[in-house]
């Protein structure tokens, strides 16, 4: 549609600006108050003390560490499991394939709260049977559960679009099945695998609901820590945390965007 000769009039610019204001004003307000000396929304002067306190808060730092570890492990494991699954599923046909794909999509389409509650039932049951308590490990398993379907969904189209003969060619040239996979096939699937990994990582970072139900009594990640902070007396440390997270997201997004543009340029030069 981009070739239609639309003049982006003043009105459309204003509209986009209003939506952007709506999206960013709340974040801007948090960042603004993160520099406030006072504890309330009344401005009392500039200070970095909330940032200092944030870094001294062991609970938050510990929770941040847990969030990152879970996101890294869950997205890596989900990517391996999901990529293998997508390859296997692509060889099913007809009804069987439809059933497997639909079951795989259940965690995506069912409400998070139902997924969380059902996993909690499972882990409580298994916990009684095998004598363990919910914690880091059950949260990790749960995160893998809702990440794998995204990996399957993003790798699958790559497999169906891939030219099967390059795999056969690799076999003819003397590769065994495994070599043909990691020397040839995986490169064809890489964009899908990478976007699956990225999606898993972000969903894991952002999740609150499923973690909330499967964390047991002691495990804390960032979402849970923010949740308990907002339930206790609100501290402006949250503002400082928001500002830093926003900065991190901004930097990552800009890097990804620049990287994409760079690749597009290279592609454009090649053709």
């Amino acid at each position: 549609m981009k070739n239609t000769k639309q003049k982006s009039g003043i009105l459309s610019k204003v509209y986009i600006a209003i939506i952007m204001l709506f999206l960013y004003a709340p974040i801007a307000v948090l960042i603004f108050y993160s520099f406030n000396v006072g504890k309330t929304t009344v401005w009392k002067g500039f200070s970095l003390k909330w940032y200092e306190q944030l870094f001294k808060d062991d609970n938050i730092m510990n929770a941040l560490g847990n969030t990152l570890i879970i996101a890294v492990l869950a997205s890596l494991f989900a990517t391996i499991l999901g990529t293998a699954a997508a390859i296997g599923i692509s060889n099913f046909r007809g009804k069987k394939r439809l059933i497997i794909q639909n079951v795989s999509n259940i965690p995506i389409i069912s409400p998070d709260i139902v997924t969380g509650v059902s996993l909690m039932l499972l882990f409580t049951f298994l916990g009684v049977m095998f004598n363990f308590e919910m914690g880091f490990f059950t949260v990790l398993l749960s995160h893998i559960c809702f990440c794998v379907p995204f990996v399957v969904l993003s790798v699958m189209p790559r497999i169906t679009r891939m030219d099967q003969s390059i795999y056969d060619a690799a076999l003819d040239l003397g590769c065994n099945q495994w070599q043909a996979f990691y020397k040839v096939v995986i490169h064809e699937l890489m964009p899908g695998i990478f976007s699956g990994l990225l999606m898993s990582f972000t969903y894991s970072l952002d999740d609150f609901i499923i973690t909330y139900f499967t964390r047991g009594a002691k495990f804390q990640n960032l979402s849970i820590e923010i949740y308990s902070m907002t339930h206790r007396k609100i501290s402006p440390k949250i503002n400082a945390l928001s500002a830093l997270l926003f900065l991190a997201v901004l930097v990552i997004m800009i890097i990804i965007n620049l990287h994409d543009r760079h690749e597009e340029k290279i592609k454009a030069q090649k053709t």
């Binding site: 307000v29 929304t41 709260i113 509650v117 499972l122 952002d206 960032l222 997004m253």
Partner: protein
């Protein structure tokens, strides 16, 4: 590559972590605390039918507002230069990457008594409470899920073949009829997936209403959260009803999508 074996671990995984938990929800919903068959969880669940309806109503309103805001936005973005499109989409995504709770918390800060909005409007002589009502809950929902509506509509619109539009113009359509006869019908699949992506999470979320709503704005997700820790049976019954409702909703939406694709 031609073997089904690589999917075996995942099939087992799905059995254990997808199928069994759902069966357990179903089983728990039809038993009492002693584990005997009982319909009591459902009779208890029906005490919350009003909350259930209100949740659906809030979700419906939020979805409608998202659609009204998102559609023109997606249309405008799809008509921009390619590089500008990417930048605007990135700007839409950035707030989504912030933690879900922090985004609601930001609205608490904005809307609270003596917060920035209250202070600014007080200067104009307007005094009111902006938090703790259904409007604030809907505002929070729209804020959380607006990008989920924009992205699918934008994706569909940006894929519309510009040849189709030029053809319509050559055949004498003005901008309005190009929109009505070409762009609008072709964007329906995007609208459908946008509606599902906003409606499902907003009907089932919890916390948004706890943070921004008043006491009578409790939603069904909050009820599950509150009940599940003490009464798993009733909690399971409500979860089961919610899940079945969402699945039926998705099936209906899919039917819509297919029919439109054929027509």
């Amino acid at each position: 590559m031609k073997s089904r074996k690589p999917s075996i671990p995942y099939i087992i995984w799905m059995l254990v972590f997808t199928m069994i938990p759902i069966i357990m929800i179903g089983f728990t919903a039809f038993t009492d605390k002693q584990g005997n068959f009982s319909l009591e969880p459902f009779t208890k669940a029906f005490n919350y039918s009003e909350v259930f309806l209100k949740s659906l109503w809030i979700a419906l309103l939020s979805t409608a507002i998202c659609l009204v805001l998102a559609y023109p936005l997606a249309y405008l973005i799809a008509g921009m230069k390619h590089s500008t499109q990417n930048t605007v989409i990135m700007l839409l995504m950035i707030p989504m990457w912030m933690n879900f709770l922090l985004r609601i918390y930001a609205w608490i800060t904005l809307l609270q008594d003596n917060g920035p909005i209250d202070m600014a409007l007080s200067l104009l002589g307007i005094h009111a409470t902006y938090i703790g009502n259904t409007g604030a809950v809907i505002l929070g929902m729209v804020y959380e899920y607006l990008p989920f509506m924009v992205l699918p509509i934008y994706t569909v619109m940006s894929k519309i073949d510009s040849g189709l539009i030029e053809a319509a113009q050559d055949l004498g359509s003005n901008r309005f009829s190009v929109f009505r006869r070409v762009i609008a019908p072709l964007s329906i699949p995007g609208i459908i997936s946008g509606i599902t992506m906003v409606f499902v999470p907003s009907a089932s979320t919890f916390l948004v209403s706890q943070y921004l709503g008043g006491t009578d704005d409790i939603m069904i997700g909050d009820v599950i959260d509150k009940i599940f820790w003490t009464d798993q049976n009733t909690g399971s019954a409500i979860s089961l009803i919610l899940m079945i409702f969402i699945f039926v909703f998705l099936i209906i939406m899919n039917l819509f999508g297919d029919e439109e694709a054929i027509a």
